[in-house]
């Protein structure tokens, strides 16, 4: 059993009468990539900021690397790095100076140039922060958070505003960090990101954790019905006795089943016998996004 890096029990936070976080339990182990998902206003940011030491909690127990983050102990801050969306750096320093400045705050920092290369900013080493694009500034955020060689990394929506290539790159960096034993606490709006990166996922809604598990099995995702969608050429009707297909307005049909192997077999056998071809034939497992939307009740996001 790996060492527990983050543990929260019965974590609560109220702002006046408003209970933003209503008794959350979390446990994250060393070397794990943990994704924390939830709509805006669900208490996600509040929870993370309590773990990072930015907010005081109203109740419950919290331990991060064996410390209470509320103590503001530098001994804890030496061991984690934070990538927040809303933090800046001095616009007049260069990339290299910025990373070096932050590296200097830690007792055993990583090599400055190595961190810059890792974040994909090698060509921008001597460029002033002011002149970086939005995506490059986000990468600098990652570089700054890695400068102190932290054991634990908080990543708050690290790829927002990235183009697809930059995202893949960032994901590679995160995977590599986990491979060398770093623990990653990730919050994200992108379900594909959580699916690709996370070992474990927790979903928060209305201040409570509503589901927790691996991305593949969370909330019984692996046991949910498979969706099969198909469309026949104009004027052809499917063999409804074979399936419980439901018609859509665009002329396609959809089946939900626990036994996709049989349904696909029946559908294709029926079509082959009659010489029909399906214009569309799609088999989809419920995605993490489907599960997430179900869990959060399609709740309107608000800040």
């Amino acid at each position: 059993m790996a060492e527990t890096v983050i543990a929260a029990r019965g974590l609560r936070k109220s702002y006046g009468d408003n209970e933003a976080v209503r008794g959350i339990d979390l446990e994250v182990s060393a070397g794990e990539i943990f994704a924390f998902l939830g709509p805006n206003g669900a208490g996600k940011t509040t929870t993370v900021e309590i773990l990072e030491g930015y907010r005081a909690r109203t109740g419950g127990e919290v331990s991060v690397l064996g410390h209470d983050p509320a103590d503001q102990d530098p001994a804890l801050k030496r061991r984690f790095g934070i990538v927040l969306q809303s933090t800046g750096v001095d616009p007049y320093l260069t990339v290299r100076e910025t990373v070096a400045l932050y590296a200097g705050y830690y007792p055993s920092p990583r090599d400055v140039d190595e961190v810059i290369d890792l974040a994909g900013l090698a060509e921008k080493r001597t460029t002033r922060v002011k002149k970086l694009s939005g995506g490059q500034q986000r990468r600098l955020d990652v570089a700054v958070a890695l400068a102190g060689d932290p054991e634990l990394l908080f990543l708050d929506e690290p790829t927002t505003g990235f183009d697809p290539n930059a995202r893949r790159n960032a994901w590679g960096i995160v995977k590599n960090l986990a491979d060398i034993g770093k623990t990653i606490f990730l919050t994200t709006h992108f379900m594909d990101e959580a699916q690709y990166l996370a070992d474990r996922v927790a979903v928060i809604a209305k201040g409570e954790v509503v589901a927790e598990g691996t991305p593949g099995t969370i909330a019984g995702r692996d046991r949910m019905q498979t969706r099969i969608r198909f469309r026949l050429p104009e004027g052809k009707r499917p063999a409804l006795e074979l399936t419980d297909a439901v018609g859509h307005a665009d002329g396609s049909w959809e089946v939900r089943t626990d036994n996709p192997t049989k349904v696909v077999h029946d559908l294709t056998a029926w079509a082959l016998e009659r010489g029909h071809t399906y214009e569309v034939l799609e088999v989809t497992q419920p995605s993490l996004e489907d599960v997430y939307l179900e869990l959060t009740g399609g709740e309107e996001g608000h800040e």
Partner: protein
């Protein structure tokens, strides 16, 4: 690394970033000098009466603008820049690192003090060359230096306290100016106050630190002027103590209410 080493390291980076914005650096230094030239041109004719002594108005302004330089660097600039750093999220990020809050703040204040000291030096040299104003020496130079140190620290503490009531960076310049400009007028910095100044103005100004600071700076600056073996501008440690008391109040308020995060 010791706290002092960390603070000095931070100071080095702060200074580097400061000079990378030449427009800002230029006007930081040119501003008080500009005021000195404008005020002496507009209002610098004739003499001001202090007891039986008549002081050149230009010399008066050299001392006043030296005090103004310190207030600009350590109050106005710190309050505005810190609010900008807060709104940029720079302070929030630092809060998540092991850098002690004191190391960051002391670097920022030290940098402002260095800028303030350079401003004082520029003003005095310019005054000497352009208006033949004196240079303090001996005891008065010591008084002048102590006043500078106490004043710059106190105004810096007040500036940090003031940021707590500034809601966002856009509001920083108007709020900071609204706090300091009236006092600069009432405290004999922009408009000379001599023995003929209306009494209510002096009474109001006595409450706040600007007049005490300006008076102590002037007493140090002109401390070598004597008439019949008597100093004309008598240095009063009470002035320095009142400035320090304001500074202490600022420190307490800043420690209690200072925010490292943008206010929403």
């Amino acid at each position: 690394m010791s706290a002092v080493a960390q603070s000095l390291r931070q100071l080095r980076f702060t200074n580097k970033a400061f000079w990378r914005n030449p427009a800002s650096a230029f006007f930081t230094f040119a501003f008080p000098l500009m005021f000195l030239v404008i005020f002496t041109a507009l209002l610098g004719q004739g003499e001001l009466r202090f007891g039986r002594f008549e002081l050149d108005t230009t010399t008066y302004y050299v001392g006043a603008m030296a005090a103004f330089g310190v207030i600009s660097a350590c109050f106005t600039n710190i309050a505005i820049q810190t609010t900008f750093s807060r709104d940029e999220g720079i302070l929030k990020r630092l809060r998540g690192t092991p850098l002690p809050a004191g190391a960051y703040m002391s670097a920022r204040v030290l940098h402002a003090m260095v800028v303030g000291a350079i401003l004082v030096a520029i003003t005095l040299v310019f005054g000497k060359l352009a208006y033949d104003s004196p240079f303090p020496t001996g005891g008065p130079l010591f008084e002048f230096t102590v006043t500078f140190l106490v004043g710059s620290l106190s105004f810096a503490a007040l500036a940090l306290a003031l940021t707590a009531v500034i809601p966002n960076a856009d509001a920083a310049p108007p709020i900071v100016n609204a706090a300091i400009l009236p006092l600069l007028f009432l405290s004999g910095i922009f408009i000379p106050l001599d023995d003929e100044a209306p009494e209510w103005i002096t009474t109001v100004a006595e409450i706040f630190p600007v007049k005490h600071f300006a008076d102590a700076m002037r007493a140090g600056f002109l401390g070598n002027i004597e008439v019949a073996g008597q100093r004309v501008f008598v240095f009063d440690w009470v002035d320095v103590a009142i400035v320090a008391a304001w500074g202490l109040l600022g420190l307490i308020l800043a420690a209690r209410f200072f925010s490292w995060e943008p206010r929403r």
